[in-house]
Symmetry: C2
Amino acid sequence: MANDLLNVKVLRINLSTGEIKREKIDLELVRLYLGGRGLASKILYDEIDPAIDPLSPENKLIFANGLLTGTSVPTGGRYMVVTKGPLTGTIASSNSGGFFGAELRKAGWSMVIVEGKAEKPVYISIKDDDVQIKDANHLWGKTTDITTDELIEEFGDKRARVACIGPAGENLVKFAAIMNDKSRAAGRTGVGAVMGSKNLKAIVVRGSENINVMDKAAFMEAVKSKVDIIRKNPITGEGLPKLGTKVLDSIINQSGLYPTKNFQFGTFEYTEEVNGEALVNKGYLVDNKACYACPIGCGRDVVLPNGRKGEGPEYESGWAFGADCGVEDLIAVSDANFMCNELGLDTISAGGTIAAAMEMYERGYLPKEDLGNGPELRFGSSESLLYYLKKIAYREGIGDKLAEGSYRFCQAYGHSELSMSVKKQEMPAYDPRGAQGHGLEYATSNRGGCHVRGYMISPEVLGVPEKLDPQSLEGKAGWVKIFQDLTAVIDSAGLCLFSSFALSADDYTELINAGTGFNFTTDDVLKIGERIWNLERKFNLEAGISPEEDKLPNRFKEPLPDGAQKGSFSHVEELLPKYYEARGWNSDGTIPEEKLKELKIA
Amino acid sequence: MANDLLNVKVLRINLSTGEIKREKIDLELVRLYLGGRGLASKILYDEIDPAIDPLSPENKLIFANGLLTGTSVPTGGRYMVVTKGPLTGTIASSNSGGFFGAELRKAGWSMVIVEGKAEKPVYISIKDDDVQIKDANHLWGKTTDITTDELIEEFGDKRARVACIGPAGENLVKFAAIMNDKSRAAGRTGVGAVMGSKNLKAIVVRGSENINVMDKAAFMEAVKSKVDIIRKNPITGEGLPKLGTKVLDSIINQSGLYPTKNFQFGTFEYTEEVNGEALVNKGYLVDNKACYACPIGCGRDVVLPNGRKGEGPEYESGWAFGADCGVEDLIAVSDANFMCNELGLDTISAGGTIAAAMEMYERGYLPKEDLGNGPELRFGSSESLLYYLKKIAYREGIGDKLAEGSYRFCQAYGHSELSMSVKKQEMPAYDPRGAQGHGLEYATSNRGGCHVRGYMISPEVLGVPEKLDPQSLEGKAGWVKIFQDLTAVIDSAGLCLFSSFALSADDYTELINAGTGFNFTTDDVLKIGERIWNLERKFNLEAGISPEEDKLPNRFKEPLPDGAQKGSFSHVEELLPKYYEARGWNSDGTIPEEKLKELKIA
């Protein structure tokens, strides 16, 4: 039986010329980068000049499945969008679940590389080997939910899956998302804007292949044992299924690092009105929802009292529109999430940008007349969420400025210090003063402010795999390095990061070997992660992202004014040299040649 | 040519027996009561014992067109629902526009008298003379918008019109409305609950007749001249078309009688966020909407940023969910209005009940545990609007108590003084301390707290037909009497009360005479109004509504704490004896025999 996992096939579609090529990836590259984020980053790095304008036709947009995506490996439904991101200027790798990736894999494709720019709006239709570029004029301007419904209707097979952009991507909003299966997002770093810049509205795909692995029996054995581990784990077996990611609201608030009102505070007075428990108890949650091959099912199927439906809010989204904007209205918070899905906006950056604008407004830096006739941007204004989200997606009025993200927005008014971002990307729902390792992770993430490049909240707050003192600096640089490298592996293998609450590096190694027949040790696998990390770093350095950008906003030099960690401030400047050292980098944050050689990058 | 206006035909439908009778009204009754509210009240008074339980099968539910409804008379699209109301225990006459009434008239019917109670849910189908009682099991439980769509589909003629109840009426919410044309409401006094108590889900109607008037040319001449007057009037020709009834928000707020936070204050800090101008300037208003034969078009077609659509909010609805609940979120306020339309709830009583519950909660009279898991009922909680509206309509949790209206709700907790109601019906959007005549009108309205039984705001605040000092008591009793009597005429003729901003009593007399061939003087017509008023009063007295109920909540004995009329308090106790005197009533508020004889009631 053929081992499909080593038969990595790529569709290369040039929208400028209309050319469609079918290629196969060299096995050596698979060994070095696995797939997904790693492999696509390697291709992007090799094929584009990192210094290009991310919204130019020279940029490429790669939809990349992980090595194991589409198999029965638990949580194995992930695909990644890799490109140069317009929000950060860094390499972007935006990860999503749902069913689109697995469907693409079943159509035979591990990767779709989109090049150039179509003259007019188009979409890509993939039915196994039948691949076509089709006119999308009738879909342009439509929201992602309607686009998805209409494309599936047009495709003529209800089992087809769609990834698409909404109005935000079309209008090149710097934090536009690519949405698949309506409510799953490759959300961060503005990958949707790159798609929009190429006049590519959507990819619709339907596949009919089975995916053969090396040794089916052995693979299923490994899968079964990992599913068991996941089901028995208190977080993945109980907490996430019951409350979704919003299990975190109360935990993080009680731990004093729940960023409130644009990170001015570390606790939110009204957490109980908007937390995961409230979503259940108020009766808004109607069902759990699981992605492809997922035994966890953290997705939330929600119906609001006004009949508005959708998936979410996740912890990050709920926080971004809730505590970060000071809003206690869980209906408005949830609806803001739905709107982001429909319009194709990243929730974290959208909420963070509105929160920053609220602080700007309250401090008098943003004049009322600039709001047009919009609601006053006061913290707590539930109306502002829905109002300005729409303005952003359509770049109307002040929405045009907000669509640039909080950093450029605040900078335009002379107050970039109020943008709670790293490398111009808005930070997620953990105040870095409350978890020193996590703060270091923000500062060094290769795609800017981000929690899913090395989730140090896990040891520093949740105690997984062991409890670390969040304020201690001891060993944190090494922890961050390992977490970053392991995350690169998980992403590139095509599993969900949430699996790592239960699974260890050894488990991932076992799954990869069982599927492919490779004989990696865990150290080999972590080395792959390190390779990916360094490759991304190299891209960024060549893109002109200086190591001086490995930093946090100045606000975090001030002590937390409230909560369980009152008085704490960020020690990221102390940690950074240790991190560079742990990484084997030069003290100025650049990568020495020998490290590149060691990792077989140079 | 026949004069259809004098050929007043009635459908009498007994839901207990299934019997359908066709009757004709004696012309003398038309001369005495015109039609609509007047004529239906006379029939109700003659046919039921005023002391019955309003939700028993003994109550009757009368859908009554005005005398001129369905003709080309400007704003002539009104019908009324007359019954004994479950909220107040008084005679109820709830007035609605749209197209349903005119369609019923074109089907040949001036009135539908519904008696008894169906065993199972039914609806009434009327196609000219083809009248049927049909099964409505498949519609029971559905919202009014869906019910309307499905019934029109089932009826097989897109031009059909529907009046129906939503879940609130089915669940006997004491302030359930009857909705027609989806977003027009016979809203007040709980007529929807009476419909629900009879297991009557809807009436669908389609008519094909033309309505012949006495002298078509003369009638058209009169119509044309009145349309001209309406078009040239600054309120009906400009203010209402431009901003709808929400033109009033800023005017009433600046005048200091904009009730805020359950009538604790007379001004709302955030009026500019929720007023008529904001609805336009924020871009939520997409179009004006006019009822049948209306040259004003005050209806608001609104689309919110989240895609929710509907008609409204009107001034009263916007205020009830806005200032009265302290909510500044115009999206939530509008959506609450849409939800009331869908669920079939009266907006004024719904908002007033939630506002009262908010004050109860903030004062500590309503324990948190009684909220179940619902949002905290703080003033300003936008989430509470949508959350508790749904709970009320379905009588879930505390919604079951709230569904009884603010008076019974507050009384159940021992604090009836916090219900801002008259005769158990919630007062509308004018603090009676800011307009003494209007306060007297509230206290004496035959259907409890209500602004459309004698809209004294017109002279006391708007200066129409002339400006009166709102704090002066001089002559106010007489003004209220005339306004109440004239309003009864306008309702019974089938015109919209808004026409009275432009038209005078003489104008209405001219229209009535032109249509019918009657030779009424204006005094004759006002005497008809007085007759109707006294008949309603007689009903209420016999229903056990004591004249002691002609009063306002004690709050209005305290001075207004803010705004343009700070320090003012209600002088209704001084005005009441003068009003009784102006009415020719006994000093105890009962009606002397000679007055009844003079009015040909007894």
